[in-house]
Amino acid sequence: MAVTVEQVKEINPLVPIKAKVIKIVQETPDVKTFHITTIDDKKPFDPLPGQLGMLSLPAIGEAMFSVTNKGENHIEMAIKSVGQLTEALHEIEEGQEVGIRGPYGNGFPLDYFKGKDILFIGGGIGLAPVRSLIMECVRNRENYGKLSVVYGARSKADLCFKEDLFENWPKVPNMDLYVTIDREEEGWDGHVGFVPAYVEELAFQPQVTVLCGPPVMIKFTLPALQKMGFADQDIITTLEMRMKCGIGKCGRCNIGSCYVCLDGPVFTMEQLKELPPEY
């Protein structure tokens, strides 16, 4: 039995449980996906799409990552090497024991998506949180309308989740994939260009959209979406802040009176407009 959200709240929420990394997938030169189970091969917790988990190598540190997918008995986290802990994580091998606690945050509002067409927009590692929702939609295909994914990275090598992009998802019914890279390169016959421009070029009908990527991508994609008539409550994104406790106590991940770890990380554009622009 996986630990449910309610059970997690009863145990000391700041103490991680022991878990182990059972599989490591090299996604790009600096992104790896880690498959994590408990010591007795169970799912450490059962996250909603978009929820977060606090992963630690206790001697080095602890950091919050979005859960990119869950399986029957494991969860997955795609992690880019950017700092001390993530560099150390990239050094570990399968079988490594780690600390984990969670799930944290609100996750995507699944009910809101039911029966609707959804446009997913991701840039670089920004596809990681979005993927958890895409996988949910793929698993329960009948609950959702048409799925469109626009995803871009700097180069072909930098595209995350290549297996999904080029093998798994193309087979999913009523799902369109638009993959782009920033610059022309040998062996690439797909689209070339930045995500915001590609989105504009594809001229989507207004629908629910989930976007996540580097700030510069968000900055230029938002006006494009608004021009196409997307409503603020239909533009959904996930935010990133430095976090320590994950349970809305330690203070640092606030945006105004919201704590990203607890009230986020998923926000609609409508909600973000109410918050101070400090993220």
């Binding site: 709240k9 700041l14 602890e62 993530t86 024991e97 330690c250 105004g256 009176s257 101070p276 400090e278």
Partner: protein, 331 residues
């Protein structure tokens, strides 16, 4: 009628309570007063509130959370034994009781209970002490605190100049009072009138007004003298931000949590280098916004009790009452 004892006989009461509790009393050492375990040679400092707020009794500056052992691929995580000792704070003031209300909101509500805090809170009894007169930086009256009647104590003690009066508030307080009743006389008393506050702050409408002041030029002005040190937040009874860090020696390690402060740049610095609050303007703004707007929005109360510690201890006199005034006057 009130149970009373002559002030000079107060140690007898504390002595008796010390049999059942770890009694913490206000005491001063080298110019710094704080709650200190009671013993016969501790000199009580009852004239004014302690400099170091009682928050560290519930939320220590450094606290061990759990132990771990990491060797090659293996990891062991071990929770630490919980202390069982009952403790009792004598002499907590109304403003600091108010701060515990704020901390309770943070650590005990919104879906998660902080076990470390709750454990200590549950085994600590509180004897509040009324204030005789305001210190020069006190402004608790402006923050809705009654300096002579605290909220949330088990017993309210009254400073009657030469005597101390006791009134039980909670059932636990009643129990404690019975333990010491042999030392107390019963007497009709009048509670001395409390003097005028030297410092005031008109908080009326400030949280609402701040909703529209995120981009106000005021922040760029008031932040200029701030040194971005942590003095204000560390002496604040309500500031509760913390960091989690490990202490590692070889294979063994301890996870600790320790006070942190929104005044330090590193506080919000992300691994990739981005910092949402990169300069002192954003940090100063966040501190005051948190106290006066964000916290009221989230928990329906101010995150300032008017204790005046930051006014006294800020090395550059960045005075929250002056800032409240500036907010009120801002266009």
């Amino acid at each position: 009628m009130m149970k009373i004892i002559a002030k000079e006989r107060l140690p007898e009461v504390l002595q008796l309570l010390a049999k059942d509790y770890n009694v913490l009393v206000p005491a001063k050492f080298e110019g710094v007063s704080r709650f200190t375990p009671y013993s016969a040679d501790v000199e009580l400092a009852l004239e004014e509130n302690v400099l170091m707020p009682p928050k560290d009794i519930f939320f220590p500056q450094t606290e061990k959370m759990y132990k771990f052992k990491a060797k090659d691929k293996s990891l062991e995580i071990e929770e630490l034994p919980v202390e069982k000792e009952e403790q009792l704070i004598f002499g907590i003031r109304s403003c600091d009781l108010k701060s515990l209300e704020c901390l309770d909101q943070v650590f005990l509500t919104k879906g998660y209970v902080d076990h470390f805090y709750k454990d200590k809170r549950d085994r600590t009894a509180l004897i509040a002490l009324s204030c005789l007169q305001p210190q020069e930086a006190c402004f608790c009256g402006s923050m809705g605190v009654d300096p002579q009647n605290g909220v949330g104590a088990d017993i309210q003690a009254y400073d009657l100049k030469d005597k101390i009066g006791f009134k039980a508030i909670s059932a636990k307080g009643q129990e404690i009072l019975e333990k010491i009743s042999g030392l107390l006389a019963e007497e009709e008393v009048t509670i001395p009138t409390f003097g005028e506050f030297n410092l005031k702050a008109d908080i009326e409408g400030v949280p609402e007004k701040l909703q529209g002041m995120f981009d106000h030029p005021l922040w760029a002005d008031i932040c200029r003298k701030c040194l971005n040190c942590g003095a204000c937040t560390y002496v604040c009874p309500t500031c509760h931000c913390f960091d989690i860090d490990s202490e590692v020696r070889g294979e063994d390690g301890v996870k600790i949590r320790c006070w942190d402060t929104c005044m330090f740049g590193e506080y919000t610095q992300m691994a990739g280098g981005h910092n949402p609050r990169p300069t002192k303007k954003e940090r100063v703004r966040n501190r005051f916004m948190h106290k006066l707007r964000y916290f009221p929005e989230r928990y329906k109360m101010l995150l300032c009790t008017g204790c005046g510690r930051c006014v006294v201890k800020c090395p550059v006199n960045l005075d929250i009452t002056a800032i409240i005034k500036k907010i009120k006057e801002a266009e």
